[in-house]
Symmetry: C2
Subunit: 304 residues, 2 copies
Amino acid sequence: MSLLVVGSVALDSIETPFGSTADALGGSAVYFSCASRLLHPVSIVGVVGSDYPMHELESLAADGIDLSGLEKANGESFRWKGKYSYDLQNRETLDTRLGVFADFEPTIPQQLTSSRYIFLGNIDPKLQLGVLDQIDDPALVACDTMNYWIQSKRDTLLDLLQRIDVLMVNDAEARELSGDWNIHRAARWILDHGPRMVVIKQGEYGAVLVDGKSTFYVPAFPLEEIFDPTGAGDAFAGGFMGHLAKTDDTSPGNLRRAMVLGSTMGSFAVEKFSVDKLREIDANQVYERAHQFSDLVSFEMADV
Amino acid sequence: MSLLVVGSVALDSIETPFGSTADALGGSAVYFSCASRLLHPVSIVGVVGSDYPMHELESLAADGIDLSGLEKANGESFRWKGKYSYDLQNRETLDTRLGVFADFEPTIPQQLTSSRYIFLGNIDPKLQLGVLDQIDDPALVACDTMNYWIQSKRDTLLDLLQRIDVLMVNDAEARELSGDWNIHRAARWILDHGPRMVVIKQGEYGAVLVDGKSTFYVPAFPLEEIFDPTGAGDAFAGGFMGHLAKTDDTSPGNLRRAMVLGSTMGSFAVEKFSVDKLREIDANQVYERAHQFSDLVSFEMADV
């Protein structure tokens, strides 16, 4: 089934303890689609400026990502510059230049309005609502947000929650949105406000899926080398949504598989700068790692 | 098989956002044994002062905990006073009075020197080594420690690591001991220094067992109400060791079950003050919750 992501297409400049990179491919739509395309075709709706390196766009297209909904505007592309602490646990934003992203109003081209699986990357909830107004009959809508929108556009965000199926946030965002520090109560609060499901991403600790009937934990894949945590959450979303779009199956068991594929993609994303790792692997490597998750959590209690 | 814990028997005064308690049963040996006794008989070696409320000791004995190795010394009992932050994520020690615990030199009574499963609670690693010198032929030795000993008795602690099977620490302790912020490299460092296994406790995120061949994650049981986190790690150890002593089986599959029973006990421990919850439940309730862990992590990847 058709898969659409709406989000940022950016150029990231990142310092980690292991090196630095400048004007590398970044943004939520890019991380999402570089992950999801390993499982299923994906279309991006976003905007780049007139300065965006054309060969980067061509290379995304060569990776099987549909760019027919990518707008090229006059002006500078969205740029983000950040620096991570020695243990990668904290990052500081050194510079944010919104450029053409500041005036981004997503227009869904006619051929994409019938998209069935929709991921709304972290943008103004007003724009996220505007996207949904242009989609005919989505099968499943998942959505990310951030502390900035929780604080500045709370009412709009609450309207949006009524129209989505899955909210995907990190634990700090879940706590801030709900006003509750207990993550399980926070999840229940979110479910009470609209979504059928909430996915709470917990970084190195993995992620949790809560649907009101059950709670499912997937760990983070154990990595001795983490290079650059940027984009792990969007790569997670790409694996999650890519699997759902590929299988067109939102049964509880398949949602759990989608969580495992999400965690798998997150683990690849952090192994190199930018989307470098996601672009050098193939679907076989993804499924091979996904299968390794079974051994990380399996146990048999029947005989006690 | 016989199970022995050596550790503190204390009186805790604790403030949480939900209330406070004064001079309640506490200490690593008490939390450990109140958990493990639900699975298997356990003996405590520890010390109390002449002021320790006798009815508390009698109630421990009534719970099936062998106190024949508990020394009654002249002086004040070990007292700890602490206060938790509103979200239970941080705690401040308001007062520590070691009392008779300051001069504690564990003497293992003759009838306990043949104990097979040994848990060395968080005390001076020199004393932990002294305990091992008194044990004939342990089947499995597990050990806790803390940042204070890692900093002040590092060489002794490294000697101890050569003589234990399982180190059980939290992630901050694993990082400090190894000097490595990556938890998987930290685990490997610890395995390189002696133990066959390391259990890294991660609070609300669960715990990880690493043995050099595989990594096993058990989540924390999802609780909407956490009352008092004190002693969760020792209760975890009690469930882990109680299961191993009961089954006398240290195969990989049984170690995973022990992790699940550890996490189960940790989740009960935090539901009330002190060891109140651990003392009001029975083994059936423990196994019932332990079985619920399967649904928290189970998924089937075979068909993708």
